[in-house]
Symmetry: C2
Amino acid sequence: MVLLERASELDRADPIAAYRDEFIIEDDFVYLDGNSLGRLPKRTIERIRTVVEKEWAHELVLGWEHWLDLGVEIGDRLAPIIGASPGEVALCDQTSVNLYKVASAGLTHSGRTDIITDRGNFPSDRYVLEGVATSAGGTLIFAPEDPSPKVIESLMTDSVGLVSLSHVGYRSGRMLDAPAITAAAHAGGALMLWDLAHSAGAVPVKLNEWGADLAVGCTYKYLNAGPGAPGFLFVRESLIGAIQQPISGWYAHADQFAMAEEFVPKAGIGRFVVGTPPIVSMVGADEGIQLTAEAGMASLRTKSLALTDFFIEALDQLDPPDVELVTPRNHEARGSQVTVRHTEAYRISLALRRDGVIPDFRAPDLVRFGFTPLYTTFSEAAMAATHLDQIVRTGSYTEFDETRRGVT
Amino acid sequence: MVLLERASELDRADPIAAYRDEFIIEDDFVYLDGNSLGRLPKRTIERIRTVVEKEWAHELVLGWEHWLDLGVEIGDRLAPIIGASPGEVALCDQTSVNLYKVASAGLTHSGRTDIITDRGNFPSDRYVLEGVATSAGGTLIFAPEDPSPKVIESLMTDSVGLVSLSHVGYRSGRMLDAPAITAAAHAGGALMLWDLAHSAGAVPVKLNEWGADLAVGCTYKYLNAGPGAPGFLFVRESLIGAIQQPISGWYAHADQFAMAEEFVPKAGIGRFVVGTPPIVSMVGADEGIQLTAEAGMASLRTKSLALTDFFIEALDQLDPPDVELVTPRNHEARGSQVTVRHTEAYRISLALRRDGVIPDFRAPDLVRFGFTPLYTTFSEAAMAATHLDQIVRTGSYTEFDETRRGVT
């Protein structure tokens, strides 16, 4: 009870607590899965209604006069959130497709054949990168999960043209040392590609400060863009004109509506866009990005760390048996999620859902709790810790079957 | 006036006229650009509101329990419209990305290096196919616009692994002889890939009857899915397990949530899906596809031909000076649009828009009028013909500047 009281105090003192009111929250879920799918911002309802019921309905094809370059325009609004400059970011396609595009372009540009990633990288990243390396006649080299700069340094060879890692691990919630890893890649003559899926809107990202060459990321997690909303890609300015992605769509053409014989790519970031963007899903990303920009990454990071600190302290205090903290305690290595390990993680995650706490399970033994600073409260963190402790202590997860099914 | 009276009669006698009421039509446009962006079905408003304001808002991440396989489920609903079987079609990504995926997979499978397309194919198709052929060490061979089976036959060599054409030309509105061209490709040992962007929902498509191997298409034209809604791809059943597309995303994995080390593709059409689909845009496609299925392609084709026949007859009767009919008069070679040529096509298209008629312009000298049988009326066809005739006769297009700008 002391825990919940302390949480209430922290909620009352939270300077960005008001942002929770920007979201539709009509359920009683302790929703700690915003690192999978963010909640619905209220303003997005109106924006999507407008784009469907006014723009599509009444402007019809003339809507393209203002929809056409939305991917690059939204990219400009996203740029400051990830430490990029306007003109370096575009919203388009899904994250895996974007990864394929920029990884292919980067590896080709390097004139080398191998790529380094890590065992813990998101499956799509590992699979896509393996395909890119293999088709270049090279190999995908695996570092252990969440590698240090030294590990990357030790794996560099003259064949490595690209290092591609997730800035924050989707399993561990660990945040890597991006500046040092980027430097290690560069020292070895490779380009550095960051996957920001669990970073954008969650932690401060400084692509240009780090010297990053390429990045991709997703918008439906901490940026609250809506289910499956398009991803984004980043190419540092000096590299944009020098590399060419493999899918030469008409949107990338310097004179799109000339429909010319020859493919002449745009000079700017638009050359990495392929085809007609899914406008109704795009505008959700636009609203989520603008909301994040309004709150500001500094405030969001402060609250994110306070939330995860509080959750970790609660676990320390409650000390649920056999629950091991996976996410680092030190701030500089922590994303905006806390992952714990338990051999019964799958059934524990089901029991948490039964009790109204929504985390997710990652095989074989992880439960991850995502904290979205825009709407997650300290009270939710306290309740999640309390439920986790009780479920483990009472063994109430044993009512569930061990067989894993469907979406986890 | 006789023309408009005759049109009214035809509208009254139209057995599928009621489908126009399925759409939001609150403007006075004579909208003949449904071959660029289809109108908004009323039911789509409710579906999108539901997916955003109920499912995303309240189910949150649990929505993925029913969203996850939507691409394949919608593909099954689209299959009969394009003469495919369930399990052969998936909705995912944009058309250009899908073309890249299946063209790469097909060419690799063929063990050859060259691709045949035609000069008149849509820019994205030409650019993407050129990239695919080049990266295989081969060449993209160009047939003249809208080629006959004989032309394709004459271009076949032992290096040609893939023939990829648009079934209905986006410029000419000409429908190709798909069965004979498919046979010619096969006779030369190549796979046949059809782009159905201007066919799906517009004309009868019989992929399996033709013996087609691969196809892609878009949903936001005659299928009325909404601006930039995802495209679709088709792979004939016996080829699905035999080919592998280059972008190995986690959605394609046989056991997606195992997040396993090794990439093991799904057995079914799902192996051609890459990443998380943009759900809000996907459901628009679902509604548009279901509406098309309800009306039935036979009725839609009958009305489409009646509309384009009537429009062509009106032009014959009015005989606007220097306006040349580009689209074939014979039914078996006609899609669902009528294209005319005039040296002042650009300014004529602007004058038509001024007068409330929305066609579009295709450089350098084409105006195309799209007829969507679900909602286009004979009266609209009559008005478009009348305006075109008057604009050309009076030269009222000369009030516009010749400099082309923006979206055309």
